[in-house]
């Protein structure tokens, strides 16, 4: 039963979400929706749902590449938009990021570890793989690849990790600025693309991709996003692509960057964790040991706690006092 618990009735689900989008657009007195098309499955699905809910003439797709984005991101986003027959704007955000100092601030940190680092290098940060296979803390490493293809890695320290993440998160925040510029200009709302697997564990940037007006798929696990994406006709290239934050110059997928297990396993465990299912049942159905399940739950708890603030409005004294 647990194995099938995340299977969607896609028709009913699409109708439910489209109705939500229409209600919210009306409630916010907006005339349409802007969606940032990343070339990934979540934003592709949101664009398709917005078209279904509001009509293609009331949806604007924004494509916001920067110099370190995968070329596929732009290509797939454009192809999907063409299929949906929606208007798009493509805005290169490398210049504003350079003006802010995104790359410079990050590269200065990398040079502390690799003084010879230069523009030919590509980088990413990753966590230890396979949480279920081997217990390990969430220990971030910086991976570099030089112009000749030599790969090296180093464990980061706290200041370096925080600095690299802070600099990199300006990419999502720069995109948010652009989304709201177009949204306000056209009196549209900004459609969010965060799914439940991401939302529960804080895999989004506060005031970046988390800075939106509505979150139509925040109740769907990633594996359910794929089911609905198939149903809504998201293009094959996007569905078959490995999900990635696409914010580092070396390819990095969501699993190695954050989740540490495949989405089909992750989503079932998240469901079991959220619904407090009996440990013995989970182990039996998923063929995992108690230790593995507890390890996953410990990781979920840690990530959920660490990101709680990002899911809430800023605290106020009145709210704290229950008013």
């Amino acid at each position: 039963m647990l194995k099938n618990v995340l299977t969607l009735d896609c028709k009913q689900q699409a109708e439910r979400i489209c109705s939500f989008i229409r209600r919210q657009t009306q409630a916010l007195k907006r005339e349409g929706a802007v969606v940032g098309l990343s070339g990934g499955v979540d934003s592709a699905l949101i664009a398709a749902l917005c078209v279904e809910a509001l009509g293609k003439d009331r949806v604007l797709g924004l494509i916001l590449p920067e110099k370190e984005s995968s070329p596929d991101s732009c290509k797939f986003a454009e192809k999907h938009a063409l299929k949906l027959d929606i208007n798009t704007e493509t805005v290169e955000i490398t210049s504003p990021l350079e003006a802010f100092g995104t790359y410079k601030k990050r590269d200065e940190i990398i040079k502390q570890f690799f003084p010879e680092y230069n523009k030919d290098y590509k980088i990413k940060i990753v966590l230890p793989p396979d949480l279920l296979g081997q217990d390990a803390f969430n220990l971030f490493r910086l991976i570099t690849k030089d112009g000749k293809g030599n790969i090296r890695s180093v464990r980061l320290n706290k200041a370096a990790l925080n600095g690299i993440v802070a600099a990199t998160n300006t990419k999502q925040r720069m995109r948010m600025l652009h989304l709201y510029f177009y949204a306000e200009k056209k009196n549209y709302l900004v459609g969010g693309t965060t799914n439940k697997s991401e939302n529960m564990q804080g895999f989004f940037v506060k005031y970046g991709d988390g800075g939106v007006d509505i979150e139509p798929i925040a109740h769907l696990f990633k594996t359910q996003v794929y089911q609905l994406a198939e149903y809504m006709g998201v293009i094959r290239e996007i569905i078959e692509r490995k999900p990635s934050p696409d914010t580092y110059s070396l390819p990095v997928d969501d699993e190695e960057f954050f989740f540490r297990m495949p989405f089909d396993t992750l989503d079932l465990l998240l469901y079991a964790w959220e619904n407090k299912l009996p440990l013995a049942d989970i182990c039996a159905v998923m063929e995992l040991s108690e230790e593995q399940v507890k390890r996953a739950f410990r990781d979920f708890t840690a990530k959920s706690n660490a990101s709680r603030h990002a899911r809430k409005m800023p605290p106020t004294l009145e709210a704290e006092n229950g008013k």
């Binding site: 390990a136 969430n138 220990l139 320290n157 706290k158 990790l161 925080n162 708890t301 660490a306």
Partner: protein, 84 residues
């Protein structure tokens, strides 16, 4: 040495991860992760501290809960490393 090590580590953990907490916010056996005391940056901070303070090198393979996820485990680990 053991008491010194324990006090140094306990003070560091309290000051770094629970700076506004009351006098004894955690027990020696408490899991840092289960109590929500340590996150991914906290682990890096802890590693840097023990490497610099006790002049040891901690390999990635050693950064596991069995070695680091309570004050008692941490003390044992540091003692093993400094005596090695």
């Amino acid at each position: 040495m053991p008491e010194d090590t324990k006090k140094i580590l306990k003070d560091f953990i309290r000051d770094s991860f629970l700076p506004f907490a009351e006098e004894n916010p955690f027990e020696d056996e408490d899991s840092f992760m289960e109590k929500g005391m340590i996150n991914s940056t906290g682990v890096l901070e802890l590693l840097q501290f023990i490497e610099e303070t006790f002049e040891i090198t901690v390999e990635d393979e050693e950064v596991i809960p069995d070695n680091l996820d309570s004050l008692n485990k941490l003390v044992s680990f540091v003692e093993r490393k400094t005596n090695a």
